[in-house]
Symmetry: C2
Subunit: 130 residues, 2 copies
């Protein structure tokens, strides 16, 4: 049985993909894939996604150079979530942080703190292209 047969995509044809840094276990981001982006991810060994806001197929790092090389693709018991181990170049987050999860809750939800330092300013990552 192909692993595609085990997967359940949403009515919009999407499945969430959790991206984890293979070397550190750090969860870097979550983004959505459709079948085409998943097939491209497997074929090329670089993560590809589907942008719901831009309604666009994209390769992670296509603008920033911050690509992700795939080390492993796992899927969960229900077949409706992917967990992908990668080697990350640069910052995974478009805001210039290594991980998109750079803020944590404090004081029972009343506030939050930034938990990591910014590697780059977004304008230094994307600004050149404008």
């Amino acid at each position: 049985m192909s692993f595609y047969d085990k997967l359940k995509f949403t009515d919009d044809g999407l499945i969430p993909a959790i991206i984890q840094e293979a070397s550190t276990g750090r969860v870097l981001m979550m983004a959505w894939m459709n079948r085409a982006s998943l097939e491209s991810t497997i074929k090329t060994g670089k993560t590809h996604f589907w942008s719901r806001s831009r309604q666009k197929f994209w390769m992670k790092g296509e603008e920033s150079g911050h690509t992700q090389t795939v080390r492993d693709i796992a899927f969960d018991c229900d077949g409706d979530v992917l967990l992908i181990q990668v080697d990350q170049i640069g910052a995974a987050c478009h805001e210039g942080f290594k991980s998109c999860f750079f803020r944590s809750v404090e004081a029972a939800g009343a506030s939050f703190r930034t938990t990591e330092s910014q590697l780059q300013k977004p304008e230094d990552i994307y600004g050149k292209k404008k």
Copy 2:
């Protein structure tokens, strides 16, 4: 600013929560929360979710005893995904595996392999209650 103000729930009032084991970095599962289950998670220090299939509020481990004690709650740059660090008792997966991500893709998607051993049979976890 409250961290709730930074969050974006779906039209159904839900937000996905990635659950990671604090001590090992292992990603255990992903499940959905609504605001009430997130508030209960923060208030009690045990993870609570919203089941889309059962349309039901639930505490992880309420039947199995496999509860999750919260160590940290982070949220991503877009405010539409949570990453929660926990101490996991027993198996996170209802199929008796430590992690729900117990299978990985092989051979360019043509097949998959089981990557971890089952800790318990599901009937030994849930069967007693029937």
